[in-house]
């Protein structure tokens, strides 16, 4: 350390100290579970605090005796140990008393659990499907469907730019629900097991392929609530946020109208005449949202796990198989069917991967238009 920096050292130390205490103060509330915004989440919070304080009380009593013993019954103070080594009455007491305490805990816990399992149909039913690594939401009554993709920029994750306020807790499209209505979530998964956790509602329900789990909530307070996937689901498990926006009924109705209109416009696009450039441009976006996590930005894949698309024979010369893989997935491999994407998106992303990374030059360079996807689907209907 140079002399000059030494001179500044105390100042620096104070600065670091202030920084540290500030951040500790700001995070003081992050020590405990939050109450959440539903009746159930409040009940759960009360239960959590009750059990916590019972444990603290037991701990204080038990460890006081132990610490007293460590203080008063050392060899110095008590050279000759007592000789007792059993006492039936005491032993019965410390078997029965904990048992009674446990019953006192089990009663409120069981009551809350029964309340949580009151699972009648909701006013609004939303199917939640976990994918590697995003969530799909389908509003069953209104026939709305969309994906909520993680929206944190890779540059933030790799520390190239400062991290935003909602780092790793932001998505490109929030789930909207109205206040005061009973919402039922039907939770499932498309590939591996995920888990849909919304701490503010005290809902955590595993999303399991082939199964539909249910959870419900009634939220009283409008706001934006953030949660995460909580079951290890592969590479990007840590980057799979959940964001729910709770709004007044009127705003919700307006949003539903907009979503329906957008879906109609999307359907119209299928019959439009597409140029290669348009398809590639759109396909690049689709690729970035759906494919890049495995097949990587330059289509190089990850050797041994995810195959390369750049220079792949199918992407070069086999258009039919290319469409088939996206529609059906690959049996026994991580590649799933993407038939849930729109015809436009599928055509665009296939065209993009057949054009990008020099694939167009080395292969037949054939493009795929939305009609090709429609035709692929036709014979099966």
């Amino acid at each position: 350390m140079s002399l000059k920096s030494l001179k500044n050292f105390p100042n620096k130390l104070i600065f670091i100290f202030i920084l540290f205490t500030n951040s500790v103060q700001a995070d003081w509330f992050a020590l405990n579970m939050t109450r959440g915004v539903t009746d159930i989440s409040n009940e759960v919070f009360e239960l959590h605090m009750l059990i916590f304080w019972i444990c603290v009380a037991i701990g204080v009593v038990v460890f006081s005796v132990m610490f007293y013993s460590m203080y008063a019954h050392t060899k110095k103070k008590n050279p000759v140990a007592a000789t007792f080594h059993e006492n039936t009455k005491v032993e019965i007491a410390w078997t029965i008393i904990p048992f009674l305490i446990l019953i006192a805990m089990a009663i409120p816990a069981s009551k809350t659990l029964v309340n949580i399992y009151d699972d009648e149909a909701g006013d609004i039913n939303i199917q939640v499907t976990g994918y590697q690594w995003k969530w799909q939401y389908r509003y069953l009554e209104d026939d709305i469907s969309f994906f909520a993709n993680p929206a944190t920029d890779l540059d933030e994750i790799y520390n190239l730019v400062p991290k935003g306020e909602n780092y790793l807790q932001e998505v490109d499209e929030m789930v909207l629900i109205p206040v005061g209505k009973k919402i039922r979530f039907l939770i499932t998964a498309n590939d591996v097991i995920h888990s849909w956790w919304m701490p503010a509602f005290a809902i955590k329900q595993d999303a399991i392929p082939g199964f539909v789990n249910t959870a419900w909530t009634i939220v009283d307070k409008p706001g934006i609530y953030r949660g995460k996937c909580t079951e290890l689901c592969g590479k990007n498990h840590g980057f799979m946020p959940i964001v729910v926006k709770v709004v007044e009924q009127a705003e919700y109705d307006e949003w539903v109208g907009e979503k329906k209109e957008a879906a109609f416009k999307m359907a119209e696009l299928t019959t439009k005449d597409w140029s290669v450039e348009e398809l590639v441009a759109r396909g690049e976006d689709v690729y970035a949202l759906n494919c890049v996590a495995c097949h990587q930005t330059a289509g190089q894949g990850i050797p041994g796990i995810f195959p390369a698309l750049a220079g792949s024979d199918i992407a070069l010369n086999n258009k039919a198989r290319h469409i088939e893989i996206l529609m059906e997935g690959v049996q026994g491999a991580a590649m799933n069917s993407f038939d849930y994407l729109s015809e436009v998106e599928l055509a665009a992303v296939i065209t993009y991967t057949r054009q990008a990374w020099g694939n167009a030059k080395s292969g037949d360079g054939e493009i795929v238009i939305p009609k090709d996807i429609v035709d692929y689907k036709e014979p099966k209907i």
Binding site: V24, A30, L31, M33, T34, A82, L168, S195, F211
Partner: protein, 527 residues
Amino acid sequence: MSSAVENHHEDHHHGPAKGLTRWLYTTNHKDIGTLYLWFSFAMFLIGGAMAMVIRAELFQPGMQIIEPEFYNQMITLHGLIMIFGGVMPAFVGLANWLVPMMIGAPDMALPRMNNLSFWILPFAFFILLSSLFMEGGAPNFGWTFYAPLSTTYAPPSVTFFIFSVHIMGASSIMGAINIVVTIMNMRAPGVGLMKMPLFVWSWLITAYLLIAVMPVLAAAVTMMLMDIHFGTSFFNAAGGGDPVLFQHIFWFFGHPEVYIMILPAFGIVSHIIETFSRKQLFGYASMVWAMLSIAILSFVVWAHHMFTVGLPLAAELFFMWATMLIAVPTGVKVFNWIATMFRGSITFETPMLFAIAFVVLFTMGGFSGLMLAITPADFQYHDTYFVVAHFHYVLVPGAIFSIMAAVYYWIPKWTGNMYDERLGKLHFWLSFIGVNVTFFPQHFIGLAGMPRRVPDYALQFADWNMVSSVGAFLFGLSQVFFLFIVIKTVMGGKKATAQVWEGARGLEWTVASPAPYHTFTTPPKID
């Protein structure tokens, strides 16, 4: 060797062979115990190095050192290595060294199988670790390897992982059978079941648990193998299978496995507290009954790991109540230890410090376990850092502190040398501080909402993660210091007496220090 001279009338002298073949061919329970202990120490350091990588990546938000893909490999291998390579072989090593000496037997009942059960272990872990260098990388699906992430979506190395788990299982089953047969058949006359030292009791129960559940683990990985290579669909919903079935099978193994890693610790701590309190253990019979009840209950609580998979209400209630019930026998054990200390004549040598820390910190892990048992609250805790804090509290200052306590307590008997008390105490305090600084803040970040098994996290968790990482580096470094202390003690030191500790009770303290290569070739006389 003086015993060699005394035993001159025997046909020929049985000392240890020389060189490498002594360790390769050995059927001596003390040699095999030593092998197990060194092996587990090596695995502990390797698994620990992986924990350092994990904590280094989590030191700050953002990806700094490794990629998410490799992070998942690290958490998977860290878990597998610490459980199957660190804690379990360490306890088997202690059992090998101590069980025959504690019951007055000359050796283990099945010495050749003993050799085999050890020597297949290094191969199992060689296979597991070599998967790091395979195409697609090492297993990356967590030590709980839930299907279908571990089947359809697994890297190709999963097949090697399955083979490796099979070998570990075979080793454990052989070790367990050996211990049961030894305890049931080779106790010296007068050592009745209810006169056995508690460490022997704890291992008898543990061995039965192992025999009961390791085949279940073998079944789970075999079904995975079939799904991956032979077209079955046990866990594949698309083929009519059930991914939740995997979790039921896994945790039917997994929960007793948790107690396999803690029951021998109960035995060890009972001996050490008794010795350094200079007072007979309080409630011997209730200690035995408590361990038996814990073992039996461990078979009916597995689904408390699965409260969020969508079980019916009746199942949630049953598994919550059954799990809470475990607090009763566990409480009895803690009360007995404290009653043993009460009005004792206590000194605080290193083994006692570790044992007291065990009682306090294990109980804290028990409290968080009780909180986790409360199903509605578990919906908030499940798969967050609160769970990570919980199971590390019962495994690190629980199981691992008990192993360290055991090493300090019995190493004078093994080597004939006393360890350096000053260094031992320093090691204790470094470990004690390190472990709490590492894992206590994880309760906070878990309750505040940080999921487990993530390589990166939101900004509100940054401060406590940094504290946790600093604690982990301190704890990790202190274990290198522990290695130094152990080597120093093996190399030399103050000579130990046969009794070693003033208050020690049990047959192992009646033989010389270091314990002769063969002990109790004729059964000792028990009053």
